[in-house]
Every structure is written in C-alpha cells, then in structure tokens.
C-alpha cells in the first residue's frame, strides 16, 4: 500500500464533494463527501473526514465520521475516533479501541464444528 499511496487520490480537508466517487485507484478523503464511494482500490477516510455515502472498496480504513453502509472486499479498519453508522460487510474487520460503530456486521464464516455439534 505504501507505494500505491503516493499515487492515491486525495480529497483534502476543506473540500466538499457532492456526488459519486468511482473507478480504480486508492482514495483518501479528508474533507466532506456526500453521495457514493465505489472504488476498486483502498479507501481511507481521514480523521477530519465527514462522509455521508455508501462506501465500497478493497480495503477501507475509517478514522473520521461515516454515515452509510460499508462493503470492504478485504478488510475494514475503524480507528480510534472513527465513527460509523451503517451496516458493514467485510472479509476481515478490525475495530480499534475508541472507535464507534452502530450497525449490523455481516461476515462470512462458519463456527467451529464443536458448537454445531
């Protein structure tokens, strides 16, 4: 991710996007976005971000505020200070201490055979 981050797009703090963000490539949002994020790439919502949108991405990292459902094909990380209100579907999930989530989590997995017994 580090080498791709240099080419990653950024919506800086202070920028307001009303609309849809889609395509390929990594994006980092520090500003305000309302609409939709649908990217074949990593999505990172920074600490100053405020996003009202459904978000789909490969890896999604949230440090800011998000109202909307999230689909992360690889992993979703909610950092301390991150706030998510919406349902989450992710292959892998990390919720740091200090993060807030309000919504359904949906992940594909099986319980061990012991419980199914």
């Amino acid at each position: 991710m580090s080498e791709s981050r240099e080419r990653a797009g950024v919506i800086g703090a202070g920028l307001v996007v009303m609309g849809r963000l889609r395509g390929e490539g990594d994006m980092r949002v520090e500003g305000v976005l309302e609409g939709e994020i649908d990217l074949d790439g990593d999505v990172s919502l920074g600490a100053t971000s405020n996003v009202v949108a459904p978000v789909r991405g490969r890896s999604v990292e949230i440090e800011g505020e998000l109202a909307g459902n999230v689909i992360a094909e690889r992993e979703l990380t909610v950092r301390a200070g991150g706030r998510v209100r919406g349902d989450v579907r992710a292959a892998r999930l990390a919720i740091d201490d200090g993060a807030l989530i309000d919504g359904m989590l949906d992940m594909a997995f099986d319980l061990g055979p012991g419980v199914a017994r």
Binding site: G19, E36, N50, V52, A99, I101, M104, L105
Partner: protein, 234 residues
C-alpha cells in the same frame, strides 16, 4: 477464595451459569452466562447462548448476544454470531462477527454529527441545500458542469441551521445513473429550481380502433356489414 471459575477444554456445560467472579471458558457451554466479572472465552472455548458480564473477551466462538457493561474485546480468532452491546467494543483484525454492534456513545451518532454534514469552513449553504443524496448521485455530470446558480444560491439557504443536513437514508441503493432523460437537467440547479413554468396541456390521444379487417375476397364493405353497424371503421 477462588473467584475465577474455569470450564476446561473437553468439558461441556449444559445449562445456565450465573453468579459472581470471573469465568474462563475453554470448553463448551450450552446455555447462558451471567456473571458480574470478566468472561473470557478462550480459543478452544465455545458458548452457545447469551453472555452478560462486566467485560467480555472472546477468542473462541459464541453463538448468542454479548452484553457487557464495560468492554467487549474480540481477538483475531473470535467467531461471534449475535449482537454485541457494550460501552466499548474492539475487534482485532481477523475477528468475525455477524450481528448488530452497539456501543455507548453510538446514540451520539444519531443526535449530532453522524449523518450530518458540517460546514465549518464558510462554504455557505451549499451543504444545507435541500437536496437528497440520491439526487446528487443521479447527477453524473455534476462535477463537469457546475451551474453558476449553485454558487449564487447559498444566501437562500443560509437561514437554516448549518448542521441540520441529515440524510435519512444513507442506505439507499444508489441507482446507476438514474433516468437518462431527467437526470442531467434536474439536479444541475436543484436549489433555484423554480416550479416548472406551465404544465403543458396533456394531449389526449384519439381512441384507437383496430384496423378494419381486410379480407381479400370479401373486402371492406362486406366486413363492415357483418358487424351489423355502419360506423366508420377507418
């Protein structure tokens, strides 16, 4: 006095467990857990039933709701099917959950910033314009053709509280570039959009009659006669 109970691996408890102290589950519990201390479900531990405790740490699998007064910690090997309710919930990468997550402070998300676009930096009104998010999404050319009116419009909306822009349905499935005819026009200047001038009178289409039957050997006249009436079939 031992205050920490332990269900070792290989042991199955069928029934409910409740009381004081901490509890470590490395075996299988089929039933509810309700203790006032810490509950640890180790990686070999399995609980089939709701867990209520002061704090809960899960590395094994749980089928049931986790309710903790303080924290719920999900280790990378945790597998949880059920709701997770606690003041603090954290999950390490690898933990798997299916269910609703609710944390203290989540109600703050409802009341304040969550779902609200703040505009601390002077961008007057643009954010409080009464547009729906879906309307925005339906405007594929919005970025390319920003209409000048959009910049002029803010004063109208300025009276409204800036933080009150709530999107009620972030969930709304976003239609792919909605109606082709309407989309490019309507969202372009939704703020100033005066009510459509005069609705064009709807033209009533003449009632259509089926074409007169044409039978080669009989012809129009005969066909009409057969009908019994002499109205015009043309």
């Amino acid at each position: 006095m031992i205050r920490t109970s332990r269900i070792p691996e290989g042991v199955i408890v069928e029934g409910q467990i409740r009381g004081q102290g901490d509890l470590v589950v490395a075996g299988l519990v089929e039933g509810s857990l309700d203790v006032d201390g810490l509950v640890v479900v180790e990686s070999t531990g399995q609980v089939r039933g709701p867990i209520r405790a002061r704090s809960i740490a899960v590395a094994g699998s749980v089928q049931g709701a986790l309710t903790a007064d303080e924290t719920v910690r999900l280790e990378p090997t945790a597998r949880v099917i059920g709701d997770v309710i606690a003041a603090n919930v954290s999950a390490a990468l690898g933990a798997m959950v299916r269910g609703r997550v609710r944390m203290a402070g989540a109600e703050r998300l409802d009341r304040t910033e969550g779902g609200t676009v703040r505009a601390p930096w002077s961008s007057t009104g643009t954010l409080v314009a009464s547009r729906t998010a879906t309307g925005m999404i339906a405007a594929p050319k919005l970025a390319r053709t920003p209409s000048p009116q959009r910049i002029e419009s803010p004063p109208v909306a300025e009276d409204k509280p800036k933080r009150s822009r709530t999107v009620t349905a972030p969930v709304a499935p976003v239609a792919p570039v909605a109606p082709v005819v309407v989309a490019p026009v309507a969202p372009a200047a939704p703020v100033v959009a005066a009510p459509a001038p005069v609705p064009a009178p709807v033209e009533v289409a003449p009632r259509r009659a089926p074409p007169a039957p044409v039978m080669p050997s009989i012809g129009r006249v005969r066909a009409r006669r057969k009908d019994g009436a002499d109205r015009d079939l043309g």
